[in-house]
């Protein structure tokens, strides 16, 4: 895998992302490529559901390596992220040695790697192959943990008092994601290559729908992408519909044998896109299914006219 990592090119990465069904653009691919080649952590920010975590999964598939995930949360500490001694096992061992007089037990016996419970960070450092380490939602942790983390991400080595220093066999591909819930420290940002993923354009979202759900007709995909884009730009929502929700909505519409959007269907299925009572009320009050379908038709009509215009110009 390391040879594979050393020799791969940006074009190969593009093909591999496409093969994995991840629709990307040049900026995203170049950034991911540079993070891997420069052996630097990749910090990805963006709204929830735009495909940040997915990048780590795609990379682990591409390089056929283990995906080690550290899900961050309020109060996450070193014990949960790095390592912990298996107290229970150590105690049993001590107890057994007491009962067996011939077995002399020293401190080194119980503080050996056998009694170490590896947590994601240590696991990534000790991995035999260059692993993909996903540190998800880093903004949910506290500043102290963040400071501890960026020390590890600089040196890729950990000191365990009882065992000594453990240095990484291979520097893992590190992906950090953040929903920008909290301002991350400058130190952490400086050590990372940075990528911001915004909601996709209509064209990109059509492409995503068609790739992930091939059963969706082109007409339906266009209408869905246009409708979601219209919602994102014309309604003030607590939670804007993400790509994952667009895909869920598409699947639901296909299950209902729809080949185009109509107001009745939109009314029935809006709960798949908007997951908040206030947002649903805002939709009904400020837009409504009829207006949404009207806006979709109008946008598609304009686009079709522009395409025809361009085609006739070329012709």
């Amino acid at each position: 895998m390391n040879k594979q990592l050393q020799n791969f090119t940006a074009d190969q990465l593009k093909d591999a992302f496409e093969a994995q069904g991840y629709i990307s653009d040049k900026e995203l691919l170049t950034t991911v490529y540079l993070a891997i080649k420069l052996e630097k952590p990749l910090l990805i920010e963006g709204a929830p559901g735009v495909g940040k975590t997915e990048i780590a999964k795609v990379l682990s598939n591409i390089f056929n390596t283990e995906l080690i995930r550290l899900q961050c949360y309020e109060g996450l500490d070193e014990n949960k992220a790095l390592y912990e001694w298996n107290y229970q096992r150590q105690l049993i061992k001590i107890q057994m040695s007491r009962e067996n007089a011939s077995q002399k037990l020293t401190e080194y016996d119980v503080f050996s790697p056998e009694y170490l419970l590896e947590r994601p960070l240590l696991k990534a450092i000790r991995a035999e192959k260059r692993a993909v380490l996903l540190i998800d939602e880093i903004d949910k942790t506290d500043e102290e943990f963040e400071a501890f983390l960026f020390e590890i991400l600089s040196d890729f080595q950990i000191s365990i008092p009882e065992l000594g220093t453990v240095t990484a066999n291979h520097i893992p591909i590190v992906i950090l994601t953040s929903n920008h819930d909290r301002e991350l420290s400058e130190g952490l940002r400086r050590r990372c290559v940075y990528l911001y993923i915004d909601y996709p354009s209509i064209e990109k979202e059509i492409n995503i729908i068609r790739t992930k759900i091939p059963e969706a007709t082109e007409k339906l995909a266009i209408q869905i992408a246009t409708a979601v884009n219209h919602l994102r730009h014309n309604l003030t929502l607590n939670k804007q519909p993400s790509i994952a929700e667009t895909l869920d909505w598409t699947r639901a519409l296909i299950a209902m044998h729809a080949d185009h959007l109509d107001p009745a269907l939109v009314k029935q299925t809006m709960g798949l896109l908007l997951k908040n009572r206030d947002d649903l009320l805002a939709f009904q009050k400020d837009l409504g299914a009829d207006k949404l379908c009207g806006a979709v038709k109008q946008t598609n009509h304009h686009q079709a006219c522009n395409c025809h215009g361009a085609a006739s110009d070329k012709g």
């Binding site: 170049t30 950034t31 490529y33 993070a35 107290y87 229970q88 909290r182 400058e186 400086r190 607590n238």
Partner: protein
């Protein structure tokens, strides 16, 4: 400036002038990244620089503007250079003209460069009026040389008045004019042009000055503030966690639990520190000078009150008035605003923060505890500034922290002398747009900086 390395260094200088923080380590990363990509592909080249130099989403707009202006074909660069030179020339001519016009009996007046810049921005009619005043006083009967300081002071106060009337955009333009230039025409014109393009990119409402907000935008502002306020609740509850996040072994419970194993500690029990949620007290200025911000301050009060628990809201002008119940009992912002405006005696009055704070201390003493975050939303234009500073000093010892959201642009702070004395007892933030509020709420507000 022809080699790639020169261009990169120059480009980084431009970004720094535009307020983007770039360290030497990041510069090295950028240069390293260029050795790994196809430098002739502009999209790839741009992505490489962006990913290694820009680490905040908010800086992306500045990067895009600067990149599009700096990395252009030589012909376009030449055109930009010519335009920049003519602009510089025009600016120089205006400065010389201002120097010629601002004279008393043929002698130049001692006026700061800031105020001279304000003079240059005045409408022609107003300039004419000032010139006539100088002309008349210069040639008046018995007017001696010693009159010059009096004339200077009059002119300064007139220009200071105009300075206060400037919009945030005009102030930004003035700040840009005073920005220290790099002394390299090719770089300076990019800095100047990119700064003029502004730094929006996401929702334009975020960057809008809240005194210019339209009636129909209020629901959007309220919704955005509510979303931001929910961020405050999660952040604050976490920040008040006690020290020592590592779980501690609960000896008592562990011994009890392990009695069944003959006292061998097989099953350990842990204890964690309790999370304390803070109390929030908001004191919001609704005096006449703050009327133009009422479309921001009232949605802010409403948004925070509907999302955050343990919150007490007050408004003040010449006196303090508790308004918590208005927000607690209703979900309809329009209704709350109407009730508040009808019933409150404070709306549009003069400002006396000292009385408001004293009243808060006397009548609501129980709210001021070591876990209280006291927010003051005001433009800091108040009567009795010295007494106010004294009162702030007393209250800062009683509460966790005082956070002042100032609706005046930072450029204007030096004109209000009291601000420096207030700042000694509170953390003051510039806050006249939702972008400012977003930035403030993402900070660790409970920690003293």
């Amino acid at each position: 400036m022809h080699s790639l390395a020169d261009n990169i260094v120059g480009f980084i200088q431009i970004l720094r002038q535009l307020g983007v923080r770039i360290s030497t380590a990041e510069t090295i990363d950028a240069v390293d990244s260029l050795t790994l990509i196809d430098s002739f592909d502009q999209a790839e080249f741009k992505a490489a620089l962006k990913s290694t130099l820009i680490k905040h989403a908010e800086d992306q707009a500045a990067f895009n503007h600067a990149f599009n202006l700096f990395f252009v074909p030589p012909e376009a660069k030449q055109e930009q250079q010519t335009a920049w030179e003519s602009k510089q020339q025009l600016d120089l001519e205006q400065s010389l003209q201002a120097d010629e016009e601002l004279v008393f009996q043929g002698r130049p007046l001692e006026i700061s460069d800031d105020l001279k810049d304000v003079y240059k921005m005045l409408p022609e009619k107003e300039k004419q009026r000032l010139q006539e005043f100088l002309e008349k006083t210069s040639t008046g009967k018995n007017v001696k040389e010693s009159f010059q300081p009096v004339v200077e002071n009059l002119l300064k106060s007139s220009l200071s008045f105009w300075q206060r009337q400037l919009s945030a955009e005009d102030l930004a333009q003035l700040a840009a004019a005073r920005r220290q230039l790099l002394g390299h025409d090719e770089l300076d014109h990019v800095v100047d042009s990119a700064a003029g393009l502004g730094g929006t990119g996401g929702n334009p409402l975020l960057y809008k000055n809240m005194q210019e907000i339209a009636e129909q935008e209020i629901p959007q502002v309220t919704a955005l503030i509510k979303r931001l306020a929910s961020r405050l609740t999660t952040r604050i509850s976490r920040r008040f966690r006690m020290t020592g996040r590592r779980k501690l072994i609960d000896i008592r419970k562990s011994i009890r639990r392990n009695m069944r194993y003959g006292g061998i500690m097989i099953s350990l029990k842990y204890k964690t520190k309790k999370i304390h949620k803070p109390n929030i007290v908001i004191v919001c200025d609704v005096s006449a000078s703050m009327t133009k911000y009422v479309r921001f301050t009232l949605p802010l009060l409403f948004g925070l009150s509907s999302v955050v628990k343990n919150i007490e809201s007050f408004i003040f002008a010449t006196d303090l008035e508790r308004v918590t119940d208005y927000f607690r009992h209703s979900n309809d912002f329009a209704q709350v605003t109407e009730e508040l405006i009808t019933n409150s005696a404070q709306m549009g009055q003069g400002t006396n923060l000292f009385i408001a704070l004293s009243r808060l201390e006397e009548q609501h003493r129980q709210l001021l505890t070591p876990s209280t975050l006291l927010f003051i939303i005001s433009d800091a234009n108040t009567l009795a500034p010295q007494e106010t500073a004294g009162q702030l000093s007393i209250m800062s010892k009683k509460v966790k922290r005082i956070l002042w959201l100032n609706t005046q642009p930072k450029e204007r702070w030096p004109q209000t002398s009291a601000i420096s004395s207030f700042s000694a007892y509170c953390a003051m933030f510039e806050c006249y747009s939702l972008a400012h509020l977003t930035k403030i709420l993402s900070l660790n507000l409970t920690r003293q900086s």
